[in-house]
Amino acid sequence: MKIAVCGKGGSGKSSIVTLLTNGLRKRGYRVLVVDSDESNPGLYRLLGFEKRPTALLELVGGKKNVFQAFSGGSEFPQSILTKDDIQTRDLPPQYTVEKDRVRLVCVGKILQSLEGCACPMGALSREFLKRLSLREDEVALVDMEAGIEHFGRGVEAGVDSVLAVVEPSFDSLELAGKIGVLATEFGIEGAWGILNKVTSEEIALRLREELEGRGVSVIGSIGYDPEVFQAGLEGRPMPCSKAEKDIEGILERLF
């Protein structure tokens, strides 16, 4: 199963991806985490890795190198990305970091001002996910860029499910409603909302009603967790916390 985790900036997508990863790993799954956010730098830290892997964009020469290759008339580098069926074991070691049945790949990051837009990263994410072939004990979790531009780029063409992370804010609710509509347009049947940073039962109930009023079913709720907040503030790996217990209910419904 390939699951895209979407939502408003700051809603907690990377934290939810990390919680899902840790929960799936404990259930015996192998997890491929796809960092498809071209801006935020720190998913690897949350997952407990010491460094980010080389970006997949480098498999096609990187933005700068590919342009140079083209203008110089030299050959384009061929790579696993041109295969119709990519298995996780095909990924060259320098393009992944791996620990405890969890692998992280990174599509690409914006590194310099005026380097151009992120469209190549979006196209690469889409093609990689479309061609990615998983075994039964493997799950791919995609940490999407904030917002909904990835739908315009068609990244969701390669996923089975979409989770919209919702924090207690009106904009977050509005965006999740839009994500539900866009996922339906893609023909994705598994689209749900995950409530995050929920401070009370009353807030959870209100968010649930608001989301369902926008046509999005809620698959679970993660309470506000000071330990997660503190780890995020300090750039530390996701701690063992009560949020881990909350994610269990979501995993029960997903798998």
């Binding site: 096609v60 384009f76 790579s79 190549p120 196209a123 315009g152």
Partner: protein, 73 residues
Amino acid sequence: MCLATAYVENDGQKEEVMQDVAWIRPESRGLQLTTLLGESKLFQANIKSIDLVKGTIVLEMTTDPSYPSLPER
């Protein structure tokens, strides 16, 4: 999107021929279109239009004798 979808127009009908086109290079035998992933195709064609907002390239095939015939595949 910045990467374009290429179409060939024939008798007013547009047929999609390539997605994610990142580069177009004029060659002596036609136009070489290359995708982000490095897949290339040569078209014995002229560009009819490019829409940079919609990300579309429309080609029209040519029988211009100045284009040498393409080798058989």
